[in-house]
Amino acid sequence: MDYLSAARERLIRAQARVTVPPRVQTAGRYGFYLGALVFASAPYWLGGIYYPDIWTDMALWGTIGLGLNVVIGFAGLLDLGYMAFYAIGGYVFANAALYHGFSLWEAMPIGAVLSVVASAIIGFPTLRVRGDYLAIMTLGFGGIVYYAAQNMTSLTGGYNGLFGWKTQSILGHPFASPIDFYPLALGLTVVAALVTRALRGSRVGRAWSCIKDDEVAAGAAGIPIIRYKLYAYMVGAVWAGLAGAIFAVKQNIVSPETFTFNQSFFAVAVVIMGGMGSITGVILGGVLYVVIAEWMVTYTGTLSGVIFSSLLLLVVLLRPQGLIPFRPRPPRWLLRHYLEDPARGTAGVSQPDG
């Protein structure tokens, strides 16, 4: 199916959606927001240490999903070394806090900037190659960062990792218990969701979507492909860099074990299972990941890898668009154009183009 007829079909489906009475639609949307709010506030009314900790993990994995979603979901680039940026965020914070007396606030932007710099350095040579080569190169990059974390002992503490910085605080309120980190992690998820959503609808986002749909056509249409791919890669790195710092503070330690290939694989699984390109989808993917991982640690032990890879395989085979698929909506003016004169819409569908 060519691009035009795909667009038409989408338009028809969008039309069908519009025919749902607006009141029902609004009610549905508010119901969704209410549900999300109840879910997000759960640690406060569930209390204790366990739930806030789990919910913080969900928020962090939601952010990881959102960041990687820019790379995979928006621009269509398979990145198998994404957690390298998470590692950079964590280690930058640890170094800044331990040896230079920086606070989390000061260290987070530095970590994000260094993640972006790293992504540009690695992205520049790699983004010219084909999609499958890129996947392998990012895998190699993730490996290098992992081994660097193990071996550059003066910077990373080697196998043991870095720990022992003083308790971080915000406005005199210390980050001591998991419930203190939760709003921070959740805030980051919300910001990441809003920013990446805005980006998706922007000129850059449309360029990404063109590149993802058909790289050759996008190039022919004058889109500077490599530059836009690099943007996607860099924007994606920001969120891992920021989340990595919060994760370090929460765990009280940064060590190589958190940045293995397995973790990067799980990040990819979060995006694919949640729904490439969909904001709600990848956040849900992150939440599901934490729930399943937690459940598995408790009940199934080492089966986690088996279950995860099988789930991912099932999703790719049976529901390749993910649990909550991203349905790009045609621009409003185009919709209005067709809605005002339904004949135009249907005429456009039945008629094949030459």
């Binding site: 040579p125 084909r130 190699g140 290098i144 071996n151 050759v216 080492t302 890898g305 890879s309």
Partner: protein, 302 residues
Amino acid sequence: MSLQELLQQIANGLVVGSVYGLIALGYTMVYGIVRLINFAQGGLYEVGAYLGVFFFTLMGKFGLQYPIPAVLITLVISMTLTGALAFVVERVAYRPLRNAPLLAPLVSSLAMFFLLISVVQVVTGAEPLTYPSVLSPAPLHLGPIVLSPTSLIIFFAAILLMVGMQQFVRRTKVGKAMRATAANREAAALMGINTTRIVSLTFVLGGAMGAAAGILYGVNYGTVTYDMGEFGGLVAFTAAVMGGIGNVPGALVGGLTVGVLSSFASTFLPNQWNEAIVFAILILILAIRPQGILGERVAERA
């Protein structure tokens, strides 16, 4: 470094390189036909290595310890079983997605890889397993170079398998059908070639080569670990690209080159950097010369 050390490092590199070359053969054959990096290849290599331990041990129990027949029987059985597994991989993770965008089969083969190594991890409890020592460890002196008889046999076995596979693809009728399918799948079907079956066969042969590599690796180093598929898979992929992916003789050239390079890396740098260096070589090769040393076609598929 003295000349003697240099030669020794080259010899060591050639031995590991021949094993990488065997894994690379699996990547390159599958890639040549379906233009897909079959990530599962690293997992098949690992499964083959573990099946090897299992059958060696089993034969030991039945008193079949005379080394060469034991190696041969183990090779044949494990290669067959792993080939069957590769058949399943193709059926499940590739065939339903062959008209989907490239990302889908890439992710599914990645998931397959992860599934295979996770199953190995669960079944073996993540413990490294020991290969029975096959030959007497007395080293052989070849001029200035010292090699164990085992590694010498491994080298020649790997080369033999690779050359055999190359001849199979070049000379036999089925091999020609494989090359025709790789060159132009539709035209091959018009000749009456059942290209679906050829694709299956290619996965199976690739998996069998991976299993052979896993066993030879195990015999050479004495232990296998559940994460060997990850590193081995990556290095072998580098080898495949280096030799020009899709190019069957290239897999051997690429494997030996990567083997020697990583052997040098481990001489000049502290041991723990060995793997990072291999990854760096991989990125450099892919970035600088994606068509490989032999420079055969790099067909574009967006």
